[in-house]
Symmetry: C2
Subunit: 202 residues, 2 copies
């Protein structure tokens, strides 16, 4: 950080500018998913972009009660808490339970950097996504699960093998895809069965 970074003045916009610079840290949070070709691990900022693009691109396959603009906003906001809380593997259920209070505190600190109405608005979106109950949150949750599965299929199952994942875990933890889009799930299941045959999944 620069020696002037702590006293850069932007008048009334100062808190928002500080929030935007704080967001830079999400680019340093690593996930288990591999980026194709380069084979480095994906970070949560570029994942959030990919997730938002999935929402825009798969909009025609959402049910009519889904508002894609709201799903895009959830995608952009959903991982910001990882700046403080880090990324936890979707298959590590104990760690995911333990992290919840840490994520809530992170949401309060980070969204709390913003003035109103942004602060409460961003918090409300994050809580809605986290609860996973509304039509928008469910469609968003489906996309968030779908992308790592596609990446693993396209990258010879490397992140599955690195973490010793079982086919049964994948089917259980991603069942929301089947609830949201049975046709997509049917195709995925076939590819996942093939992945087990190839030894990518146990």
């Amino acid at each position: 950080m620069s020696d002037i970074s702590h006293h850069l003045n932007f008048g009334s916009m100062t808190p928002v500018i500080y929030f935007l610079m704080e967001l830079d840290k999400l680019k340093n949070v690593q996930r288990q998913t591999q980026v194709s070709i380069s084979k480095r691990r994906e970070n949560s900022a570029e994942h959030s972009w990919h997730f938002a693009m999935a929402a825009l691109s798969l909009a025609p396959y959402a049910s009519q009660d889904v508002d894609i603009q709201r799903v895009v906003k959830m995608a952009l906001l959903h991982d910001i808490v990882e700046i403080d809380a880090g990324d936890v593997l979707v298959y590590d259920l104990a760690a995911r339970d333990a992290i919840h209070e840490v994520e809530l505190a992170a949401a309060k600190r980070l969204f709390g950097m913003l003035p109103q109405p942004q602060s409460d608005d961003f918090m409300a979106y994050w809580l809605e996504y986290d609860a996973g109950e509304s039509a928008d949150a469910r469609f968003a949750g489906m996309l968030d699960r779908l992308l790592p599965l596609l990446s693993s299929l396209y990258n010879n199952g490397e992140s599955w093998m690195a973490n010793g994942i079982y086919l049964e875990q994948v089917l259980q933890r991603n069942s929301i895809i089947g609830q949201e889009n049975p046709e997509l799930w049917q195709h995925l299941r076939q590819h996942l069965d093939n992945a087990k045959e190839k030894g990518w999944l146990k």
Copy 2:
């Protein structure tokens, strides 16, 4: 790429899934901007997320004729052409002129992977952003210019020094910020003058 990647079947969703996997490549396109702390160069996917977050966060400072949802969509789509065309330094005017036809061809190829209406819709957003004339495109353009300036100020001017950039170039190429938000520009100018005094800019 996996040996099965070229024949993964997702029924009617297959073209969209292929498009989403193609988007992974934007995570490998490097920009001149530095990511803070890690000091690696930023890629265009994580930049696109940051840009979309800037749109959501700075929405209260947009004029009333700006539709933030459309700005967010432009932010998400604006750099996808770089999958084929690569990133060109904002201060390299000759290269930026030369790249335009390449970017247009890239937009046609990449957005052309999608079925309608997505294909034409994404192309229209990209063209609108590229033309930079509508209120939404101008607010988006302002944000796209703002973020690298903030990063350079927060990272001791490293990308400016690496590319031998002059203060006068920064003021000329980023004048859209002053047109869109005079108060923000006034603060930025002060920080840019300080940057020159420190030797970060020539």
